[in-house]
Symmetry: C3
């Protein structure tokens, strides 16, 4: 700390609770979580039971000791509680005992209600007495499995709130609490996190943080930076957030081309990030992460990455006042749902034919990425969000599991003039994974003006036809609901002799708004056609679609609009500047309204409107 | 029951023993089976130990209580004991203790005989004392493993006979006992069942039942309906059987095209089924089977499936008297073997090179399906069947494990004028999986007029040449025995510089019959050529081969021949009617001998010869 | 034994310790090894804990009893101790307790040294007291895992030395002790053995033995025979060795074409083998290895394999005096490393992106096979070998984990005029898998004249350009280090806009020798170009490259040079004989210097220079 203060470097203190020491595992084997695979062996991090009183005892002790020696230091600007916390599958007898108590409370001690709502009569799973509760780890009932996962996510929130309470006893007013949230991991940040509930957890922090890792080289698109940033920003009502970790060299196949690291850094700022921190300073010499490469390699020598980081740091130091605290105002929001993610996890797993292995986040990314490529910036909404009315358009991927009230709120959003774009698999079941014994798609059929009774898969042989289908061959993909319009306009139908009477994509005018339904996983070109119609009608600005670069914007501390033109390609791009006279933040160069300028390969231009 | 009687609906009472309730698993954990993976956790159905006295105690109690309140009811026409019963891998200490007793009995307490017959000296597996018996679950000896599976199948038979005995105490003379047998499950009904012995189990029922599920849409062929029906019909000496379960909407990728559900229903009748029942009435709202779709979706609304079921029911009601109780007389039988299925399961698993993953049922289906496509109807024989002589032709897929007597019976069948078509991998080992220390293919070489010493795999580079090979390129596939004719005619040889002196397909005239051997997995076109020669010589009618529709026939209660022309295609087919003047059962329309008529896409015509 | 002596057949007595009997497993369950998957179940061989005192007690007893009744027999020429011994993953508490003691000794009881050297601080893995040692089976630290595997290999050596000590008490001076070493098993002998340390184990035997199994038919190349023989020969300083097992019919897809079995037999002799023994005489009738086919099939009848074995035996009997005891002198050696093999096993497993699944033996075979195809014969070196200076060229595949002294010795080898060819991934970490905190490639950069800071993967899009790249398209493959020459000549660079300034292949003149580095997995054609330059400069004879046959040579007991021309193809080959006048050993035919002769398909010619 002395060294940091001497060097003028600010410090965020992390609570050291994400990996338990050897002696603890040896003395108290019960701290290792019991998961579906049995008791964890010691070795990797994040294998403990985050509800174990033994673990919590030692965790509290070390946090308090650490606080005592650090909280008062001048260089300490804030605290990060734990690290990418999840429930780690904890499901031992102690956890299951609490789960039964949780169920008793949820169902007001009414076993009949539990059995009916979860459908436990099936395959003799009925519970005749609370003390007969069997191990949920081998349960076949998806309602039980999903409820248990929801309960496990609650444990994560509880744990982070508990840590925050301790830290709050010590921190100064000017010190923040943050946490590095992270998305689904498919060897990179892919989508919504299933093993924690970010919306709830956000209550434990004063500033949201996020960890974002993504493909690089020819595969760099900025999409992961965008959706991760949108989540982080939306978690605290549009406030700025911290990138607490992102890649320097990263995996060996992520070693950036020249300019990419800098492009990434500015992409984070363009989303509203107020920091870009790298995991990590130098690559490790031992253990499991020698291949996870930092700014420096293990040789501690200067390299291309280090030199690019130096340039980024220098520019941030010089021009940061124009870039920090970017405020964004978006017209479009994407509604995401942990319960739906969990529900779709169970059904494909047990019935692999279902949608050919497509999971929730594939549908989320299909919709989000198409908007990104159209240069439409988004916010994120959760079922608990109360600001639906802030948006012109709400996009709803696969809202499979939802309570009646949520669906009614979406109908009301349309009633009041909002525009809804809903994908297949929405409204299907209630919040307990009970398929609605009523017309589909759930309660949403009111605003959507359609119903369906049946669905199937297209086997690569079902084409699409209709006004929203452009030239070329476009097919139904993965899954197809056989839509019957009840008032809605048919934008696309299935081009197959047996399904030709059914609609695939529909749009309905309902009171003051519109509600569009996409009943199959149309390709991105068709989806863009669908979005274009809706966004146009909603008055969302689409003038930057097709400009060849990604444009992000917001307002800075000087009250001026800052626009980032991000070139995710190996070719220089010419761009038309459509807004008021501006200056290039980094070079000072003037850019006149309606003039053209270029953005180099893997480069960025940042214009501040005067 | 009152409601059913009021509605005039007949009822089959199922004994509710295929899923144990939560309280039983909680109070008596020992009812959950111990399998190769350890003690089952509670959740899915069919995970209990069917030999557990605790389980049997409760099962008996609930069966008796159920019988008391239902057996006397008028609407109850019969009873289904349990559901698709298998041994579920039960292999706990209690089961293994019985297995040792079983072995002592099989080998008359002679350990030396056991060790010699199973080859236990190898890798020190010899048993010097019965009490040294080690866990069979990790045994490396295929004779031990296969014998244990045979023993496990006996447990299933014992269990069903036990249930039947209880039900027999209550049922009326006019009430039947049935069970829903089912085939190997490869996400649909694929072939012979490995985990139960249908031939033995049939003694527990008065009427055979079968569950058949199969691909649909463009993949619908009727083959699963045919082989499943042939098994069910053959189990009770040609008696009619019940389809207790088949798909309505089924898996989402099985949603039928228009007409397919009706085509399927009549295909069942054409095989001798006396019922077509759907799993199930409406799709479930919870648990694991929400995607297994019934006649109705969860919305309880009318849909295309419901409407097609209504049409089927109406036609059955009006014309059922012409269709029910169809009696069939086939010239060709396929001999199937559980011991051979089990044996081939072990060898490919441990030596994956062996036949490139081909299993017994692939060989069974290769032969059965080729006959089906040739419009040759078959019965099924088991090693214990006593009616070999009823047939002109017996087809024998991969009879790998067989006792001497069975092979001698097949030789005798040929001697007496029968015609035999035998595939590779037949006669190789005795009933204990001991490879015969004698000339191959086992004792069958006498009738087949061939021997071989060696075999290999063709690596996709070995062609075929000979009189039975038509134009075009035809290759040896998967496995090739290097046949040396000892009297047999060579129908095909290997077209490869190193194997060209060896035969691939041979035919031998032996006493009054012929015996044909197919030493490699020739393609279906070549196999059809082989069958055509044999069937022609045997006097089997082949006039409907190539007619473009599937023709099934039998004699109805009026003593008239009923012919089903089943069109498994999306194109209308023109057919020549070759038999005596007939009337269309459904429309009443007259069809004259040698006249032409059409069968619509996915449609059926049923003609009753006058 | 009486029968053997009567027949004049020599006998090697094998100690029967590789499979424990049923009674032992039943009476003493603790003899079954505890591995990463838990306690082994009884069944397969080689599942016991080779350190169990119970097992060792019975093993000693049976060895001594066997020695007493066999060692004095005239026909007994030697003893084989155990069978293809490995550690079988033994990792129970008893083994781990010894491992802690081993670590205390290695680190002189200095916990701080252990923690620092293995990097245990990471993820809280630090050990604060020896008694806190946690289960290594779930360790995440690759240094711990690799050290444990090294320790397990020591257990194998200890076990074989223990057996040899017992046998030595009984054997006569003229009786040898051998053991059948074997390579990595990828359904055939693929490379260096990871689960035993052949170099150490060789101390337990007086004559090395080896088991070699390999693909056949169109895939027969002789490469496995070559590298297996090179290992066996090098284990005892160039002495002749025994092929204790090789395939007769083998797996069914290995059934040899005519001539191949004989070609294989002579290939073994050409490497210095003094025996060719087949596993096994006849194929087994039971258990798991009925498909592993011997000289005879289970029918005990003569077959093509038997007839070819008879020919081989007859020729050996008649001309063996010219063929036995072949002494070889090679200019080139390949340095192999168990620690490097183990290290590369851990990193790819945890980071699948790493080198796209390439393992150590793939890199070893890439280099060895290229030399083989160039007709360059090799010896094998281990880190402990003391005869580096015997060679003109040392080839070093992926020497990932190596102590400073070894790298320094390689530098010294170059200083003194040697020629080094080193692959990527060499010198990277020390012997404890700690990545060197210094310039790469480790200490070798001195002789190599290069450094690198970063590396990545080529994603199939990175070409190669430079003097060592021939015509056609050649790409970087799997992995690419971004080399910066510090004195070395650049032989190839990366042809990609972002990496074009970096070298891919370099060559450095260092004192009296040269050191060449191959920084990516160039294809075999480019690698041959690299080798050609180095070998030419080193004065290695390359005149037989491209002759179309494999030429192996050595000196026989008559002091004459014997040359084997091995034709691994289905075409007859014409060859120019470049050496002094010779006679064909098998036919006696004279072959004059610089005359041509032919070698038939899958045939061999053996010429003895006069």
């Amino acid at each position: 700390m002395d060294a940091m203060e001497a060097a003028g470097i600010s410090v965020i203190i992390g609570t050291p609770t994400y990996a338990v020491p050897t002696w603890m595992a040896k003395a108290h084997p019960e701290v290792m979580a019991v998961t579906n695979e049995g008791r964890n062996g010691y070795g990797f991090r994040q294998l403990m039971d985050i509800t174990s009183p033994t673990y919590l005892f030692y965790a509290e002790r070390v946090i308090r000791e650490l606080m005592k020696v650090t909280a008062h230091r001048k260089c300490v600007i804030g605290f990060q509680i734990d690290n990418e916390t999840k429930h780690y599958g904890t499901a031992g007898p102690n956890v299951q005992q609490r789960f039964v108590k949780y169920l008793r409370e949820k169902f007001h001690d009414d076993l009949y209600a539990l059995n009916r709502e979860f459908g436990l009569d099936y395959w003799s799973n009925r519970l005749n007495a609370w003390e007969d509760a069997v191990d949920v780890r081998t349960a076949c009932n998806a309602s039980v499995r999903a409820e248990f996962e929801k309960f496990q996510r609650l444990l994560v929130t509880e744990f982070l709130l508990w840590q925050a309470d301790i830290v709050n006893e010590y921190r100064r007013e000017d010190q923040f609490i943050t946490h590095n949230f992270d998305g689904e991991w498919r060897n990179y940040s892919y989508g919504i996190q299933s093993d924690a509930d970010h919306f709830q957890e956000a209550n434990a922090v004063t500033v949201a943080g996020f960890d974002i890792y993504h493909p690089s080289q020819d595969l760099l698109t900025g999409k992961e930076i965008a959706f991760g940033g949108d989540i982080a920003r939306s978690l605290k009502g549009g406030d700025n957030y911290l990138i607490l970790e992102t890649q320097a060299q990263g995996y060996i196949n992520w070693l950036h081309y020249k300019g990419q690291l800098r492009l990434q850094a500015y992409s984070h700022l363009s989303e509203g990030a107020n920091s870009v921190m790298y995991w990590h300073w130098h690559s490790l010499h031992n253990s499991v992460e020698t291949y996870w490469r930092g700014i420096l390699s293990q040789d501690f020598e200067e390299n291309d990455t280090y030199r690019e980081v130096c340039r980024i740091g220098k520019e941030f130091a010089e021009k940061g006042d124009h870039l920090v605290n970017l405020k964004k105002k978006n017209d479009v929001a994407v509604l995401v749902s942990n319960p739906s993610l969990t529900a779709l996890k169970y059904f494909p797993v047990e019935f692999p034919q279902e949608m050919h292995g497509i999971q929730y986040n594939d549908i989320f990314r299909w919709m989000f990425d198409t908007l990104y490529d159209m240069n439409v910036e988004c916010d994120i909404l959760w079922p608990e969000s109360e600001n639906f009315e802030d948006y012109k358009v709400i996009v709803v991927p696969a809202l499979y599991a939802a309570e009646d009230a949520l669906l009614a709120r979406l109908n009301r959003f349309v009633e009041n003039g909002g525009h809804l774009v809903v994908s297949f698999k929405s409204g299907y079941s209630n919040e307990n994974n009970k398929v609605r014994p009523a017309v589909q798609p759930g309660i949403l059929h009111e605003s959507l003006g359609i119903i369906y009774h049946q669905y199937t898969t297209p086997r690569d042989s079902v084409g699409l036809t209709g006004t929203v289908i452009g030239g070329g061959v476009h097919k139904a993909r993965k899954f197809m609901e056989l839509l019957i319009p009840h008032g809605a306009e048919v934008l696309a139908s299935y081009d197959h002799y047996n399904w030709k009477e059914y609609a695939a994509v529909t749009k309905n005018h309902y009171r003051k708004g519109t509600a569009t339904y996409v009943g199959t996983m149309v390709d991105e070109e068709v989806l863009a056609n669908v979005f274009r119609g809706v966004l146009g009608e909603a008055g969302v600005d689409l003038s930057e679609e097709g400009s060849g670069v990604i444009l992000h914007q917001g307002t800075n501390d000087y009250g001026k609009i800052v626009r980032y033109y991000l070139n995710y390609s190996a070719e220089e791009k010419k761009v038309l500047y459509r807004y008021g006279n501006a200056a290039d933040v980094l070079t000072g160069e003037a850019v006149d309204s309606m003039s053209g300028f270029t953005v180099g390969a893997w480069d960025v231009r940042i214009l501040e409107e005067q």
